[in-house]
Symmetry: C2
Subunit: 468 residues, 2 copies
């Protein structure tokens, strides 16, 4: 951890920052700094020196302008729910916490759009949008901030149908390292007017600019839906069924894979009574009950042809909500099952035809190395997660967990996929960037960073900072 001495070096800049936001929304208190030292990943914490809670774009502009002049690192902070170390202020400096810049600025109800500030929390926003019959579909599980979701291109169980955050951002307001603010995109769904700045910032993890406003595409809340739970003899067969369902042209609204270890945790910790077997959780939405029944019949026949051992369809609204709540809380639930243990999370994605191969590889290596943990995944879009737990002092188990991560990334790249489907690069995935993108693309990414942030003040140490 950075020592508190560093703060004293900041004596020149502190009064300037205080003049911008006033004394109430700036802190150098140890408790506030400690709250912004780590995300939900296992990456080491690092104390920032100053926390500011901005309220307006003008304040963010003034702060960045001043930080840029002083070469002070600035890291944006949403809800702290990321899991790849994305907002850990590894070079200290200033954390901009957007908690107080969290308003819905406009609901464009008839355009299915919303304009929000970055500190708005995902679940709170969707609660507010429900009265309009609308929701923002990319669902990261955690109650992430919209700014964080945009920065990390977050995704989740609904992405199989509605796309990731990237696919649902129409326009942004961004403050550059220089303090200059700009608007990207438009509210029209079609846009061909010059370079796509919106998508340059989405997924850039606050290293190219800081998002101060986002206009998002919404979807109508489905009126007819049904959840399905189907259990299979092996994870490999379950993965083949995922592939068959997607390949059949069925459009699931969610299609999740959980291995027996994950199911066992749900049974003991979340009060489910599921067969302890590789299981698919699915949801289908339809324009009517009739079309939904047709879809479900096709799903059932695909499952039955693939040795499905238990098929429960027509799960009602309450059971469906319970299912997704449990799936969303799964990570926290599993943490409770391995108290005091350290962990490694994997997040790789492949083309759907390669998903069974990837799942088999994950199962094989975890079994072979005797890893404790589970395999789950947003299977419908080829996105696999593993969670491996180990005692902090067990060097061999830790090495095995790292080996699994390295191996699955290598497999995913060989299968035409990516080292990160939705968690972003943060700190942990930087070492794979050269292998995934090659030297020319990586060089270009670094040139873009140098162009947009010549003094390297924005979330330094992330995405493409590691010298590989």
């Amino acid at each position: 951890m950075k020592s508190t001495e560093a703060v004293s070096d900041l004596s020149t800049i502190l009064p300037v920052l205080q003049a911008i936001v006033g004394p109430e929304r700036l802190s150098i208190a140890q408790a506030d700094r400690a709250q912004h030292a780590r995300d939900q990943s296992a990456h080491a914490e690092h104390l920032p020196d100053i926390i500011i809670w901005p309220k307006t774009t003008a304040e963010v502009s003034a702060i960045l302008s001043c930080a840029n002049e002083a070469r002070l690192p600035v890291t944006a902070w949403g809800a702290g729910t990321s899991i790849e170390g994305n907002p850990i202020p590894v070079f200290g400096g200033l954390v901009l916490d957007f908690q107080q810049m969290n308003q819905i600025l406009a609901v464009h109800e008839t355009d299915f759009q919303v304009t929000v500030q970055p500190g708005m929390l995902y679940k709170d926003m969707n609660k507010a949008l429900a009265q309009f019959g609308l929701f923002f579909a990319p669902d990261p599980g955690a109650n992430a901030s919209i700014g964080g979701m945009v920065a990390n291109n977050a995704a989740g169980i609904r992405t199989v149908k509605y796309g990731a955050t990237r696919d649902n951002v129409l326009a942004l307001e961004v403050v550059l390292a220089s303090g200059e603010a700009l608007r990207t995109g438009a509210r029209s769904v079609k846009q061909s007017a010059g370079y796509d700045l919106t998508h340059l910032f989405v997924g850039s993890e606050g290293t190219l600019g800081i998002v101060t406003e986002a206009t998002l595409k919404l979807a109508p809340l489905p009126e007819h839906f049904s959840a399905v739970i189907a259990a299979f003899p092996t994870v490999e067969i379950a993965a083949e069924v995922v592939f068959a369902i997607i390949g059949s042209g069925l459009g699931p609204a969610a299609l999740e894979l959980l291995d027996p270890q994950a199911i066992a945790i749900l049974n003991t910790e979340a009060d489910f009574d599921l067969a302890v077997a590789p299981t698919l959780f699915m949801e289908f939405n339809g324009p009517s009950e009739a079309s939904l029944a047709e879809e479900l019949a096709l799903v059932e026949s695909i499952c039955r042809e693939n040795e499905c051992q238990r098929f429960q369809s027509g799960v009602g609204r309450e059971a469906r909500n319970q299912l997704w709540r449990a799936r969303h809380r799964f990570f926290e639930t599993s943490l409770r099952c391995y108290p005091g243990q350290d962990y490694r999370l994997t997040d790789v994605a492949v083309p759907i035809s390669r998903f069974p191969t990837l799942v088999a590889a994950a199962n094989e290596i975890m079994t072979r190395l005797g890893c404790q943990g589970n395999i789950i995944g947003h299977a419908g879009d080829g996105n696999l997660h593993t969670a491996i737990f180990f005692p902090p002092n067990d060097a061999q188990a830790r090495a095995h967990a790292d080996q699994v991560n390295d191996y699955l990334v290598e497999q995913a790249l060989a299968l035409g996929g990516t080292c990160t489907g939705e968690h972003g690069v943060g700190l942990g995935k930087q070492k794979y960037m050269l292998a995934e993108h090659g030297p020319v693309a990586l060089k270009l990414m670094r040139q873009l960073k140098a162009t947009l942030d010549p003094n390297g003040i924005l979330n330094p140490g992330k995405v493409i900072a590691l010298n590989v």
Copy 2:
């Protein structure tokens, strides 16, 4: 037009280029140069000095490396079907015609993906993909090249359901101005590994790099569909119906607006027998005939509630194909109706709730100024086109046509939209870039251009070149 003298200045570079591709695939012949001097827009032609037909990425790399050293302008050429002057080589130099680099490299049938070379033509590709039951959905009407569609972020009548080209590109191979080749993206649908280089190149109109390979998302060919033709008393009412249909949550696969002038042209030139009235052409796809019937009933009730004068649904496959063929050929058909006349095309897009306002504005100004032409549009996504025809020597009519274009762009921007929904910036929309994006975003676009193409050799004079 540039004189042929310029070619003699190229005496040093010509042998070098010839050594790369051989004498057969390089030309300085007047006839070849003339074929690459203009696209389908009304923008003035300009002769390039040299044409090369590359066959491999390695050739493109070698050519660009050499052109970059010599500061020779390089403009990529697909099918020449663009309509904003996008590939007109306004500074002469070298045109790279991708006609011979037009192979399907891989059909990833089970992933609904295809990897193609940039010279592949859109319609030829979809013909080849039909045997797999798949198609590439962004349909620009013209038989554009895939490279051109990626460069211009092309879209069309299917975009309302399937998105624009941008939404359907997963990965690219690109050659930079330096000659270095890189790969962007991955074949997994989820990707969060660093800066989104793919979308930086999509829509950059060959000014940041030249695409030599693209991996595209495909959609399954719909099995059940029905076309609908509905006529209304005014274009404003027709536009309100568009808004009502989209707002109801119905998911049309196409939703086109044509004004009475456009319908009259179809009746006389394309052998239709339609009511000469503002008309919506629609298509709906469904998982079954039953669900389709439900959708159509809802569409009919919305139309009837809005003074629909003639409602034809359940139009069969042959009539549907005839309808879309006629819509696709509409631009060429209207050109035939105004022989020898000059023309201006408008391409603006707005949020769907603002579409009726935009249509009313277009109708009002064209009527007021007595413009000859028509209003059509990919109404379902708020994208409006007008075509205005005038005798080349009628200065007032030309000024009126320009006035309509300026006015509709101004209206679209005020309504939260864009100066170009799908034709790109090319030459003609550069003058609106400052108004649409503001000075900071425009400066950033120029910085990106300078970073990626420091010598300004790639399609110079386009997108952000105009000093506004």
